[in-house]
Subunit: 306 residues, 2 copies
């Protein structure tokens, strides 16, 4: 069994990004990312801090905007509009969740699609479905694809089964892997909570991607001998023996599935670190889209600008 | 075996549309469709004539714009811009294929997404993927879904296998049937020319939707006993005994598959008539989106405005 080390792969990608930022700076352009935090959701504070820190480590211009939890939707939309027009800012990320007085889809629709580094704007979703290389692709699905590519898991012709149909992961990763060309050409099944005979369906997967948000939901019976398993879930379960009183587990029962899988991502240290690495890569791509500065495509996937 | 009579179902839907047009007219609004033909492609002339005729039969305001094959892209974009701003026109359809001097994706991107009754604008594709009820959904996929609903074929929990991954049919029909809620909730597999073990994959389908563009490609071995088969293909094959010298066949070898299928659409007379009926329904939906006139949702599918 091959453990797919997301942390090591993400570190390698971040190194690439750092070099590409240097190249862009030589052209007089510093890619800029604005991260907006509304309120004081504890997990969000950590996420925003990490994004800000890694942006700076990689040489990006990073702007952290912190607004009180009482911010009105109109005020947030005004800020989005300012960032849309700010030439120093190439990527805008509004940290989710937002307080109840703010309608998240409205905020997303008001982002400049070229600065939508989360890839959540309907225009970017449409471009992804259409295989348009200028799409900004959501970070987690892009991270899943990149993990497969970096681990030399064959995608073309493989049967990928995605469990979960969210817009964060399930649908975009399905669209990404069924695209024509390198990094795509898979046969893709999207299964979910309403699917009948789920173990029968998931056992067909050469590549099983799980993003259903239920701790240790996928067991050995769901997995074919030798399959590659990508576990997107992050769930807390009680663990009185740990100092924190909990531990993090994925949507896959790691120990029993690892015995059958050909390759598997751990939780933590699998998909998680890739998501932030892909956010940085998306900011670079957004910068290139806005400035017209060309970047050679990846040798492994011409449709993906790494 | 149940033959799914697309012609009869389309006629019923057109009757509904005619009544709804009357209702809208009582509110002082006449839904309007503009169909643009560039050049004199023989099949396109027939399609445009049919769309114009049926629009008129159903009481819509129909505008047919015929431009010479030498029309420049700039001139076509100017016309699109005029139609975008014309309050009498709620739906715009630019007949494909366009002559080589015109870039079709550019034309589509310049349509007002609210008037894009073909559902090809990336914003509508994105909304479809996101399950947004204001999406204008491409006519053929919407017709496939409606055929299943009208034939009382259970979709929720069923395994749908789509053969073909085009933006005209394969991807949008997959996205439509995997949406949450009535008319959706299927487990969906998208297979294509690069899929391995295709017969094994298609034999799992409770509902098999074929849009691969190859005459009689799907044979009995691809189909499970009792499955519902929706054949989107329309292909000409030589038939010296016919006056025209050819006959139309689908992507499914009808005679042998009909013996195994629980239900099947014929070609012609299956999906074909639904496409134009859905175009009319889309024009009504576009009219309501633009005028704010509400239409009660369908009892069978609240997310579909029939």
């Amino acid at each position: 069994m091959n453990l797919i080390d997301g942390k090591a792969i993400a570190a390698r990608i971040n190194e690439e990004t750092r070099e590409r930022v240097l190249q862009l700076k030589r052209h007089g352009v510093t890619p800029g990312l604005a991260v907006v935090l509304v309120g004081d959701h504890p997990a969000s504070i950590v996420y925003v801090r990490n994004k800000d820190r890694i942006s700076q480590e990689l040489g990006l211009y990073s702007r952290k905007v912190e607004l009180p939890g009482t911010t009105s939707q109109a005020d947030l939309l005004r800020l989005v509009d300012e960032l849309n027009r700010d030439p120093q800012v190439h990527g805008i990320l509004v940290q989710s969740p937002l307080p109840p007085q703010i309608d998240e889809p409205t905020v997303v629709r008001n982002l400049d699609p070229l600065k939508d580094v989360d890839g959540f704007h309907p225009l970017n979703v449409g471009k992804l479905a259409m295989g348009d290389p200028t799409a900004l692709v959501p970070c987690t699905p892009r991270g899943c694809q990149r993990l497969l590519l970096e681990s030399n898991v064959p995608i073309s012709g493989a049967h990928v089964v995605v469990v979960g149909r969210s817009m964060l992961v399930g649908k975009p990763v399905a669209l990404l892997l069924m695209q024509k060309g390198p990094g795509g050409d898979a046969t893709v099944t999207v299964a979910h909570s309403r699917s009948r005979n789920l173990p029968e369906i998931t056992r067909q997967a050469d590549i099983l991607i799980v993003a259903i948000g239920q701790a240790q939901f996928i067991r050995a019976e769901h997995v074919r001998e030798g399959a590659t398993v990508i576990d997107v879930g992050i769930n807390r379960i009680n663990s009185p023996s740990r100092p924190a009183g909990y531990r993090l587990v994925g949507d896959v029962a790691f120990d029993e599935v690892a015995e059958k899988a050909g390759a598997i991502t751990p939780v933590p240290g699998g998909v998680g670190p890739m998501t932030i690495a892909m956010l940085m890569a998306n900011t670079l791509q957004a910068c290139r889209l806005q400035t017209g500065l060309h970047q050679p495509a990846s040798p492994t996937n011409p449709s993906i600008i790494p």
